[in-house]
Symmetry: C2
Subunit: 153 residues, 2 copies
């Protein structure tokens, strides 16, 4: 699937999944925070392996990269217009005022997760670590622009 | 993998993943709630399809069942001793006083997710709906015993 189509596909799936036209903003915020929390927990130990802080563990990399690859597309649709506020959130308002750029960075992160999944299937530790680094950079790139340091209401 | 081994495998993975011996209880609570939230969001539209409330959508079932199958094992290890309280939680204290029963029901839910995944791969809508119903019953069975109706501190 081409990168540019992933975001659209995710949106289509979410809509088809029965997402209501008017999701409560607090529920959307809670959901996207939950997904990001799970992604972060999966990523944390892997980046510690890349940094040499903990030993490389293939089983963990297989499991955790699969978690990320499987769920990283879930939150995008929950940044729909109307969900800018409603609960404490670190989502910058730029997500909605610069939505094209946000989509672009979200797609890049998603593609980085796909690349990691391919590398894990390939099994070469060096390639896996490179793609993990790329994924980390991609996440950071989006967070730098669109994630606030402190939650706002 | 045999059902009885799944819980142990999940624990092993979490430990290997670099989980600290002393995870902050509030972080463990936040994490397990996040995973359950994502599982619930994936399950919701599928059970609505089984109940005929929304049309059956194969793409959504493939996607959402994969999400559940991939992450349903994640929360168990975050119910470790010492994480009984620390933030508002609906986790009953029976999880820790009747941990064997909790593990058994958690394993059953996990096996139900595996069965759903197999049914989805098989592609027969009737079998998929049956396994979805079984997964729902399995989740409910555990929630009835171990999830409080109101959050406690």
């Amino acid at each position: 699937m081409k990168t540019k189509h992933i975001f659209a596909a995710a949106l289509t799936l979410m809509v088809a999944a029965g997402a209501k036209a008017q999701v409560k903003p607090e529920d959307a915020i809670d959901y996207r925070q939950s997904v990001m929390n799970v992604v972060g927990h999966a990523f944390g130990p892997m980046i510690s392996m890349v940094q040499g802080k903990i030993p490389y563990n293939k089983d963990v990399v297989v499991k955790n990269s699969n978690v990320i690859d499987t769920i990283i597309d879930l939150p995008w649709a929950s940044f729909a217009p109307g969900t800018e506020k409603g609960a404490p959130t670190k989502a910058s308002l730029k997500i909605w005022s610069e939505s094209e750029k946000f989509k672009e960075l979200a797609d890049k992160a998603q593609q980085a997760a796909v690349n990691l999944g391919k590398a894990v299937k390939g099994g070469d530790e060096k390639t896996i670590k490179t793609t993990l680094g790329d994924l980390g950079k991609s996440c950071k790139s989006c967070h730098d622009d669109f994630k606030l340091k402190e939650a706002r209401n």
